[in-house]
């Protein structure tokens, strides 16, 4: 970005903000119609900031919490067919999960803006920055703008909105910026004091294009189109993409007049007479500029090229820029495995190949993957590689990884704990017998004291917050499980804090998969186990127990595969720890968040009062799949939970799939006291918000009835223990509280009816 005239800043405020804050600010000022979203680090904050601003009444964008990124992309495509302004933000695997939908949107030619806060794609799971997600976006048919710092995020979002809607383009646009480095770093910024300036610049949504809401002109959006028509649709799309370049230049020029900030298609730093250059995307290019200044002082003619737009790829400008450069090193924060260089290397080479006079030596280095920091001295080393190539006249190693190290053999992994033997896992303390008359199970478990003899499934040393309820919940459950297990954890707090590389707190075998797909994955594990057993290829006991552990977030995005696994009735357990929100990404609402509860995407303030709709009843949804056993439990009723675990194991070994939900406290995000976790989940049970019961072969039994025990308390008692719900006890939230109480009572009475009638 180059600043042209200082006096333009009279309409602008100077501030100190992050890329995510600037993204939210631009979006709020434009006041998009709809944002369908699903949280994923590091883009999540954009939705959080927008929620905060909405709570204060600073915009009125309709924000729809989707069931996953695929769902969010569907919401946004649908909204875009209505002819309104649509925005979304995502990162990494979220982007890949919605990938299928993105060519649908570009191929159907409905504009919107997507902020891609770039992050490494899994696996192994990595939440930090690189460009591996971005590279998957190169072929989706969306123009892609790159924002190198928080200022550019704001400016390019405004430009992108206008670009997408332009009559010669009519394509959705990606604005990509570096995760954490740009998204979470506060920098000096300017923005318009008055959102009207922004809205006037962007203009009204242009009319005369297809919309789903014009009864006088009904349309068929998305026909079935084979050859020979399809290639013509794609040709139109290709033309629109190339047209985006000229349209961008025109809008960027208009924006320069308004803002004083210039975003040329290719940002060139001291390239006029450069003999060696680095070609870098986004924030790394800024670091390299400092190295250029240093090298220039030493008399080395160095420069940096970094595009502000990579779709369409600015081949002409790059050709021009590299005309007299003797060697360029393309640094890439993602690989195109096996292609002898990342995607951008190939495109830079292709661009200069068309210049018959060009003799630039091209080197390619993969660097700074997965958030590895990039330092000025490393940029200097890149320049040195280019200088060496100039001196030799060729690149000795054209392609390589930079910044890897072999590791010291002394530090190679060594066993730390002796594995727990099968006999030790089989304590003999838990007894399950089938009553042949009723067909139901009878379970005997000893006092907790005796059960301390059983080894725990986890080793200490995990990094959960103080007072976290996940492990007390899981370990109490595991006390009822005998013998060997294979555990699969879906992405979530429980997974992240127990497997931070190179450490693992899981004593037995553990598998992770992304949280939309754990149930499917574990069903594959289970079936391979039985298939290998059937073929006589493994000699292990057949009483392995397969347990999938998920948060309530995983049961939102992973609901489909969980139901699929349940309908197929694999011999496995799905165990959900419910902390009423997406805590791993910073406490966004989940469908299990109760009404009125405050989260980072359901703020409490002038314009909204916490979550708008009631909590999901996952146990009843799973019971409706007619699996053999469904239960709920908490650490506050340990004997009850242990008995249910024993039954769960019996059914998972003998009949099929089991689903269980345990309520656990999250002191950090429930804004509750660390030490009160047990009492909090106990009170949730006594208030009938979280009844503990089981559905065994279709028969519902309430295993602890607070009314019969004389222990029932009003739900306000539970809400009063949590900071996130204190507001619900104030008079102005009376209606929400009443609605919550009625919903609890309705669900409780229905459960009581089921408990008394085996046919319900």
């Amino acid at each position: 970005m180059a600043i042209v005239e200082k006096d333009l800043f009279v309409n602008q405020k100077i501030d100190f903000k992050t890329g995510n804050e600037m993204a939210a600010l631009s979006v709020a000022q434009i006041n998009f119609h709809v944002m369908g979203y699903f949280p994923i680090t590091p883009s999540t904050e954009i939705a959080e900031f927008l929620d905060e601003m909405k709570t204060r009444g600073e915009h009125d964008i309709l924000m729809i919490p989707a069931d996953g990124e695929h769902g969010s992309a569907g919401i946004n495509f649908g909204a875009a067919t209505g002819g309104g302004r649509v925005f979304n933000a995502t990162s990494a695997n979220g982007f890949l999960y919605m990938l299928e939908q993105l060519p649908v949107q570009s191929g159907s030619r409905f504009p919107m803006v997507l902020n891609l806060v770039t992050r490494s794609i899994s696996g192994p799971l990595n939440i930090r920055g690189d460009h591996s997600d971005l590279y998957y976006g190169l072929n989706i048919g969306w123009p892609i703008l790159l924002a190198r710092d928080p200022q550019a995020v704001y400016d390019l979002n405004i430009i992108a909105t206008k670009l997408a809607e332009h009559k010669d383009v009519r394509l959705p646009v990606v604005v990509a910026f570096d995760g954490f480095v740009t998204s979470h770093r506060k920098r000096n910024v300017h923005y318009f004091n008055d959102k009207k300036l922004v809205q006037d610049f962007v203009g009204e949504m242009p009319e005369g294009f297809i919309t789903a809401f014009d009864p006088e002109n009904p349309v068929t959006i998305g026909p079935y189109m084979n050859d020979p028509d399809f290639i013509n649709n794609k040709y139109q799309q290709s033309q629109a993409m190339y047209q985006a370049e000229a349209v961008y230049e025109q809008i960027a020029e208009e924006y320069k007049q308004l803002s004083g900030r210039e975003y040329e298609i290719v940002d060139e730093y001291r390239m006029e007479d450069a003999e060696v250059a680095l070609f870098l995307l986004n924030s790394a290019a800024e670091t390299a500029k400092d190295a250029v200044d240093k090298l220039r002082q030493q008399g080395i003619k160095a420069g940096v090229i970094s595009p502000n737009m990579i779709r369409p790829f600015p081949a002409k400008q790059i050709r021009q820029s590299l005309k007299n450069v003797k060697a360029v090193l393309v640094g890439e924060r993602a690989d195109s495995y096996g292609a002898n260089g990342g995607n951008i290397t190939q495109e830079v080479k292709a661009a200069i190949q068309e210049d018959k006079e060009n003799n630039t030596i091209v080197l390619s280095r993969i660097f700074s993957l997965g958030g590895k920091d990039f330092y000025m001295d490393e940029a200097e080393e890149f320049f040195q590689l280019a200088l060496d190539a100039v001196e030799k006249g060729y690149a000795e190693v054209p392609f390589d990884y930079y910044g890897v190290h072999p590791g010291d053999i002394e530090n190679a992994p060594k066993a730390v704990l002796e594995p727990v033997k099968t006999e030790e896992w089989k304590s003999g303390l838990i007894q399950v017998e089938k009553n042949e008359e009723t067909g139901l199970l009878k379970v005997k478990v000893p006092p907790l004291r005796a059960l301390t003899k059983k080894p725990k499934r986890l080793a200490p040393g995990h990094g959960a917050c103080p007072g976290c309820g996940i492990y007390p919940g899981l370990e109490t459950f595991f006390k009822g499980i005998e013998g060997d297990i294979v555990a699969l954890f879906q992405t979530g707090c429980g997974m992240v804090v127990s497997t931070g590389y190179p450490h693992s707190a899981h004593k037995g075998t553990y598998i992770h998969n992304l949280f939309q797909n754990g149930a499917a994955t574990l069903s594959g594990v289970v079936e391979m186990f039985w298939e290998k057993k059937r073929r006589g290829e493994i000699q292990v006991p057949d009483d392995f127990t397969f347990i999938m552990v998920t948060g309530d977030g995983g049961m939102d995005i992973g609901m489909g595969p969980a139901i699929g696994a349940a309908l197929r009735n694999h011999k496995m357990i799905i165990l959900e720890y419910d902390n009423e929100g997406y805590m791993n990404t910073g406490s966004q609402l989940s469908y299990s968040t109760p009404i009125g509860h405050m989260t980072t995407t359901s703020g409490v303030g002038e314009k909204q009062g916490g979550k708008a709709f009631h909590h999901k009843d996952t146990a009843q949804i799973m019971a409706a799949t007619n699996i053999p056993y469904v239960f709920t439990g908490t650490e506050a009723f340990p004997q009850d939970l242990i008995k249910k675990a024993a039954k769960a194991q019996w059914y998972a070994q003998n009949e099929g799939l089991v689903y269980g939900k345990i309520l656990i406290s999250c002191p950090l995000n429930w804004k509750a006291k660390d030490e009160e976790g047990t009492a909090i989940v106990g009170t949730a049970v006594n208030s009938c918000f979280f009844p503990i019961y089981e559905v065994e072969k279709g028969i519902t039994t309430i295993t602890y009835n607070p009314e019969e025990k004389g222990k029932r308390v009003p739900v306000s008692e539970w809400l009063g223990m949590l900071g996130k719900t204190k507001h619900l006890l104030k008079p102005e939230y009376e209606a929400t509280l009443k609605s919550f109480e009625e919903e609890i009572e309705r669900r409780w009475q229905r459960l009581v009816a089921k408990d008394t009638n085996p046919f319900l």
Binding site: I14, I127, K186, A412, E418, A459
Partner: protein
């Protein structure tokens, strides 16, 4: 004339804060940088180390201020000032890494500058100490406000009056009763910080280490698989505690195991013993403080007075720790 007293080769004044999640170092860092940017018209950058680390895990916050455009995005490796919010980090983090011979090291501690110098093996520079925990306990405020006061004293180019106005504005509307306590906390941090400068010998240089991962491409098992699970026992989580731990009185214990059920961190150590009637019984031996984060759930669920919340004094955890008797692998 420069507004900044000292600058590195790129022209920046750099601060690094060392803390654990939950103590407010990120917020303090933001406030320092904002004061430079919005108060003095400097260019600034502020960011913290991010990961999936949770409350209680080590965190760093970085501030970079300068008169020229900031382009670098890397963490602060050579700080002019380090602020340590939590002394227990000394055990696991090299908080002094990268200090210049004349940098300032501020520590939230009850120790003297000489003791800190000794403990961190710092050769020269200024050591500043402040008992921010005590101030925050007395004023019923947060540690970060007291630390911020001390940091303002160190970064003399920032205007403490402007900060106090911000504190006032922050609390005035919603929490007017907190204004005075927070201003007092800031002032006490500013006034009670104690300095001692240890002169560097001429020409002295200090070094810094850019950390490398312990495993590399020749030693990582392929696929990112961890082949020695359970190795989390090697970690030391004691720095997650914020001044308190549960103490255990075996005489009052009825071995009900309520604590064991409630403990998120698997800290309770049991052993089978023979009771008076000759029967084998599990008996609680004590707490493995290496993993205790001080949440106090166990204290709340204990039906007797066997567990109680105790202010952690130096050495208490080491003396009273009952280590788990893990069956270690023989390599």
């Amino acid at each position: 004339m420069s507004k900044l007293p000292i600058k590195n080769e790129l022209g920046f004044f750099e601060i690094r804060l060392e803390s654990i999640g939950g103590l407010g170092a990120h917020l303090a860092g933001k406030m320092l940088a904002e004061a430079g940017v919005l108060g003095l018209g400097l260019n600034g950058a502020h960011f913290s180390s991010y990961g999936s680390e949770k409350k209680g895990s080590p965190v760093k916050s970085f501030i970079r201020l300068g008169e020229r455009e900031i382009r670098a995005s890397n963490p602060v490796e050579r700080p002019h000032v380090v602020g340590v919010f939590h002394e227990a980090l000394f055990k696991t983090i090299d908080v002094a890494n990268g200090l210049y011979p004349d940098s300032v090291m501020l520590v939230n501690t009850t120790k003297s500058p000489e003791e800190i110098k000794e403990k961190l093996n710092i050769q020269s520079g200024t050591i500043a100490v402040i008992d921010a925990l005590n101030i925050s306990v007395e004023e019923r405020t947060r540690v970060n406000t007291a630390m911020l006061g001390a940091l303002y004293r160190i970064a003399e180019f920032l205007d403490p009056e402007a900060r106090k106005n911000v504190i006032r504005a922050t609390f005035e509307e919603k929490y007017p009763h907190l204004v005075e306590a927070n201003i007092r906390t800031f002032d006490r941090g500013y006034n009670e910080v104690v300095f001692k400068t240890f002169e560097a010998e001429d020409g002295m240089v200090t070094d810094f280490v850019r950390a490398k991962s312990s495993l590399g491409y020749e030693t990582q098992p392929i696929g990112g698989v961890i082949t020695n699970p359970g190795n989390s026992i090697l970690k030391d989580l004691s720095a997650s505690r914020q001044g308190f731990l549960p103490s255990y009185d075996k005489d009052k214990c009825i071995n009900c195991a309520a604590c064991d059920t409630a403990c998120p961190d698997l800290c309770f150590v049991w052993k089978e013993e023979i009771d008076k009637k000759g029967r084998p019984q599990m008996v609680l031996q004590g707490i493995d403080y290496q993993y205790c984060k001080g949440c106090m759930k166990c204290v709340v669920v204990c039906p007797t007075d066997a567990l109680s919340k105790t202010r952690e004094t130096d050495g208490y955890a080491d003396e009273n720790r009952v280590p788990h008797n893990f069956v270690l692998a023989s390599n």
